[in-house]
Symmetry: C2
DNA sequence: CGCAGTCTATCTATCGATAGGCAGATGAGG
DNA sequence: CCTCATCTGCCTATCGATAGATAGACTGCG
């Protein structure tokens, strides 16, 4: 039986913290509860992440990095923009399907004023990463389009999907998400 | 000098509470801070609103009622759907412009799991009210359209605008809201 | 030994909520 | 008009719970 390494422990803490934040938000994340979940004491969590800001900034950073990797892979898998955007919408859907959770950075955006600066920065980076990827996908579909227009549309798609997630979650009804995404497609917001 | 009536005090508490929730969310609303803002003690706030759930449910109910009144008036002022939707988008914009605040029920949706049931109910009613109004406006623009399609599009517009607000707030950049709404229009999500 | 990692124990701050008291307004019976 | 009970609105004081954070002891491994 292999003992847990420091890295394992960090991972375990981050995984549990991520789930809690996605379900309840930044403010509801408690070191004590978190420690209980991973089977250690809160002082030990502070050993790995000195402050709540450190933990959540690391959380958001990893969230962005993992998301970026996933999206990059999507982009490499198929040249079809519609297919890529379908997978993209599915990623956000899966958070809802998984215990009515939300996008980590989406829920943190709502709590913006309570976030330490280092976390705020990461939240913004997540948005930038998404918009960047969406812009790339859109430019495949309409290579002739104006750069700024593409960026604005990318931002609009990102915002619209975050909103669909937020509203569907608020109504605790995932079918709202599905119907909303379908409407986005139908109107042409999402190609 | 007229003394404050009970109703005045309730109003003052609710006004301050609304501002705090729109800026910081449900969890960040504290009876002590709230009391300090209106110049009384927290026990007195409990006198007017026995629990935090009571206060926030009242808050959301009034928010929905006032919104409903405003929207009804809009609908009566002009038969032009585009004009109505412009005003609608402006309402959500003004929250952002006012100290980077959010829709009361939008921000509460993000904290759904921490809300008492009575508050949750009100949050859902707010969404229903908005979707109902948007459906009416859309049916003016395209009276021949299918009822369910209109409803879905209405939901999509509501979600998209909430999302635009959320993302613009997260990036602390109101121009993101403006560009996103413009993209919604351009693609035809918003007529 | 010495360090890494976890622990116990504790601090300060704040939370929502409650108990109980106090001043001023109200209103009815004499 | 006067008095006295009642009500209103707010107060002080305090409760138990929980928050993030820290100090210092313990434990096991290299």
């Amino acid at each position: 039986m292999m003992a847990k390494t420091k890295t394992d422990m960090r991972e375990a803490v981050m995984t549990a913290a991520k789930a809690t934040v996605q379900a309840h938000g930044y403010n509801a994340l408690s070191f004590r509860e978190l420690a209980k979940e991973v089977g250690i004491k809160s002082a030990s969590v502070h050993y790995h992440f000195p402050t709540k800001g450190d933990l959540c900034a690391a959380l958001a950073r990893r969230y962005t990095d993992e998301g970026s990797a996933t999206l990059t892979e999507l982009l490499a898998t198929s040249p079809d923009a519609t297919w890529c955007l379908d997978r993209y919408a599915e990623i956000f859907r899966s958070a809802l399907a998984n215990d009515n959770r939300m996008c980590l950075c989406g829920i943190m955006s709502a709590e913006l004023d309570d976030l330490p600066n280092e976390v705020r920065t990461e939240v913004e980076k997540f948005a930038e990463m998404n918009v960047g990827w969406l812009t790339k996908v859109l430019s495949r579909a309409t290579p002739a389009a104006d750069g700024q227009d593409l960026k604005d549309q990318a931002m609009a798609i990102f915002a619209a999907i975050e909103g669909a997630q937020l509203v569907a979650r608020g109504c605790q009804d995932i079918s709202i998400y599905d119907r909303t995404i379908r409407a986005y497609r139908k109107t042409g917001l999402i190609p």
